[in-house]
């Protein structure tokens, strides 16, 4: 099933582990070099910026090739023929993908990813166009689930694994939606239970060494499932989506049935994630939980403005700085296996941080009289795993 040579993959993991160990200063640079020489991998994974460039170049080639074919067929262009062209072109992309992986061993190299997304996207477009809009939502998302799953299984692409997971959830969502009146009562629980089951399955799978090829996919899906588990029970989402999809016609003062349950979910799930994360020393749980604390604040403030925004910001800011200061002082000597020290310094992260600061903290005095302070536009980068 996996498109890559087994030895190549295994050696690339060994190299990766050795590199990590070297960055953590467990093994010396010399040893890292020897390991790299002893376990060579033929996989082609270039520098991240080259990867971005290759991705863009491949997309340009893809779009204009599609344009060229469409222009040649321009005289007989209808929805059906364009649907046919899309599917044909999707197959061409897939053929190129297989070829580039087999011949050049591209692995997370930009070209393979661009081809994968184009093949998947065009395949969906083709089906939608050929079915003349009669395509059922369930069928559409079954296709998303299958395509994403196939690419994830064969090319080990973690974003495709998440696409597949979202496809699966959407299938369940639309099946439930078709159940009629009962749907709006059980929908949040269907989403939450499905997410929880996926999370449990995924964490169990990622403990088995034989699943090593899929560790990246599994990790990303576990983050996605934690987020959808929260979204499923969040008061704001349940109320607004329910209002939108089931035409509940709520006025701003109206509450929803079982509001108490959803308020509890909204406030408690992120806290549970953080506590579990700290106990298990699981950075995925901790970071997802911290990000979702922001969602608690947003949800509460959306319905109840306890105090004006500036007061909340000031007090919140003081509390956060105080909390961080307290923890840093507490962890001056590592306690309970936790430390404040960095595991490894990365120059890139500091540069990225400075850009985020320049963007969000506008400290530029305005020229005109109508002086407005830049409140800063949210967007706290940093807590995600894919730094």
């Amino acid at each position: 099933m996996i498109a890559y040579n087994k030895t190549d993959l295994e050696n690339s993991w060994i190299q990766q582990d050795a590199k990590d160990a070297c960055l953590k200063e467990c093994i010396t640079k010399e040893e890292n070099k020897n390991i790299k020489a002893q376990y060579p991998t033929g996989l082609y994974t270039p520098n991240i910026f080259i990867r971005i460039g290759l991705f863009l170049a491949t997309v340009v080639v893809g779009i204009f090739s599609l344009g060229l074919i469409s222009l040649i067929m321009a005289s007989s262009l209808s929805e059906e023929t364009f649907g046919g062209i899309s599917i044909f072109f999707a197959l061409v992309c897939y053929g190129c993908l297989e070829l580039i992986v087999k011949e050049k061993k591209h692995f997370g190299a930009g070209v393979d990813e661009a081809l994968m997304w184009m093949a998947g996207g065009l395949m969906l477009t083709g089906f939608l166009l050929l079915s003349d809009g009669n395509f059922d939502n369930v069928a559409l998302y079954v296709l998303v689930f299958l395509l994403g799953g196939f690419f994830a299984l064969r090319f080990l692409d973690s974003l495709m694994a998440v696409v597949s997971f979202i496809g699966l959830l959407s299938v369940l969502f639309y099946i439930t939606y078709k159940l009629g009146p009962i749907a709006k009562l059980i929908m949040p629980f269907v989403v939450m239970i499905a997410s929880l089951l996926v999370y449990l399955a995924v964490t169990r799978l990622s403990k088995k060494a034989t699943n090593r090829p899929y560790f990246n996919c599994l990790n990303l899906v576990s983050i996605a499932s934690l987020v959808t588990l929260y979204i499923g029970g969040n008061y704001f989402v349940v109320r607004e989506v329910g209002n939108e999809m089931f035409g509940m016609q709520l006025t701003p003062e109206d509450s929803i049935p079982g509001a108490f349950i959803f308020w509890t979910f909204t406030a408690i799930i992120p806290i549970i994630y953080i506590i579990m994360g700290i106990r298990k020393k699981d950075s995925i749980l901790i970071r997802t939980g911290l990000v979702l604390v922001g969602a608690i604040v947003f949800t509460v403030r959306y319905y109840h403005s306890i105090m004006p925004i500036e007061g909340a910001m000031t007090i919140g800011g003081i509390l956060m700085i105080g909390l961080a200061y307290g923890v840093i002082q507490y962890l001056k000597q590592p306690k309970h296996g936790f430390t404040y020290e960095e595991e490894q310094t990365e120059e890139g992260a500091i540069q990225l941080e400075s850009l985020v600061i320049a963007q969000t903290m506008s400290a530029t005095p305005q020229r005109d009289e109508s002086f407005k302070f830049g409140g800063g536009t949210g967007g706290g980068g940093g807590a995600s795993d894919s730094y």
């Binding site: 060994i14 582990d17 050795a18 160990a21 467990c26 093994i27 040893e31 390991i35 002893q38 270039p46 520098n47 910026f49 080259i50 460039g53 170049a57 491949t58 090739s65 344009g67 060229l68 222009l71 500036e310 007061g311 910001m313 007090i315 919140g316 800011g317 003081i318 956060m320 700085i321 961080a324 840093i328 296996g337 936790f338 430390t339 404040y340 020290e341 595991e343 120059e347 890139g348 992260a349 500091i350 540069q351 941080e353 985020v356 600061i357 320049a358 969000t360 903290m361 400290a363 530029t364 005095p365 020229r367 002086f371 302070f373 830049g374 409140g375 800063g376 706290g380 940093g382 807590a383």
Partner: protein, 324 residues
Amino acid sequence: MNVQLFEKLSEEGLISPGSLQKVKTPGLFSLHWELKTLLYLGVLLLSGGLGILIYKNIDTIGHQAILFAIAAVCLGCFYYAKRHKPAFSWNKTLSPNGFFDYIVLLGCLLFVTFITYMQAQYNVFGTRYGLAAFFPMIVLFFSAYYFDHIGVLSLAITNFAAWLGVSITPYHIFSQNDFSSHRLIYTGLLLGVILIAAGLLSTKRNIKQHFSFTYHNFGVHILFIALLSALFVFDATYFLWFLLLAGVATAIYFMALKNRSFYFLLITILYAYVGLSYVVVWLLLTNSSIEGIYLGLFYFIGSGIGVAVFLVNLNKKLKHHDSL
């Protein structure tokens, strides 16, 4: 970490017993980035909150108390920073802890808030608005060098640009600038050249060498954007601008190659490609024939493949020396 693997590597003699021991000792769980993010959000909220607070209370008695509070916190921040800062050096200094960095940042942000408020309320700089932007800029640059803070340096650079009348924060660079204005294009060119020169000087004179990336990053982007705007706007002399763009791109390309910076190589190639494609499409579409469109499509397919091959070769050339 994967202990089994390292045991196997140790048996094969690839790592020493000492290293194996280090791998086996359970590592500490680092909360570094979590706490940093928390501090960042705290500073963002506090400086933003105080800013709005004073603005909303501008006509009441309360604003003087708030003004006083801002001044006090600001002084407190600088006092803390002054006490804990490492000895000054023109090289990179290590910050005593992560908290220090954010206190410096908070102090600088509040200082700018304070000055802006003074100008708005008491008109301390009169109608010389340039001075109102210039003064905080000097303080920001001073703080960046004095406390060795790249984040404050970025703020200082954006302030410098604002003083000249250009907005160069990553998001606003397109939304808040009107690049069809000739004045702005020339200012952008000047700004780009000054910033790149400042970066080169940092490296050459060994003045906070690690700041050069930040100068170059802002400088290269604004210079290329100004050049591309000139290419799009000045129809009559477009070919001269194209030659200038090609020259600048070549210069930065070799500079990046020398520093082995994949980042600058990529952005140079992308900007140059946009410029080249603009000129090609412009030439092909002047007589608006169907052949022109076909040729255009072939150009993009061919050049896309060309760029990809070029990037692959570039990666091969610079391999083993990854850096930003």
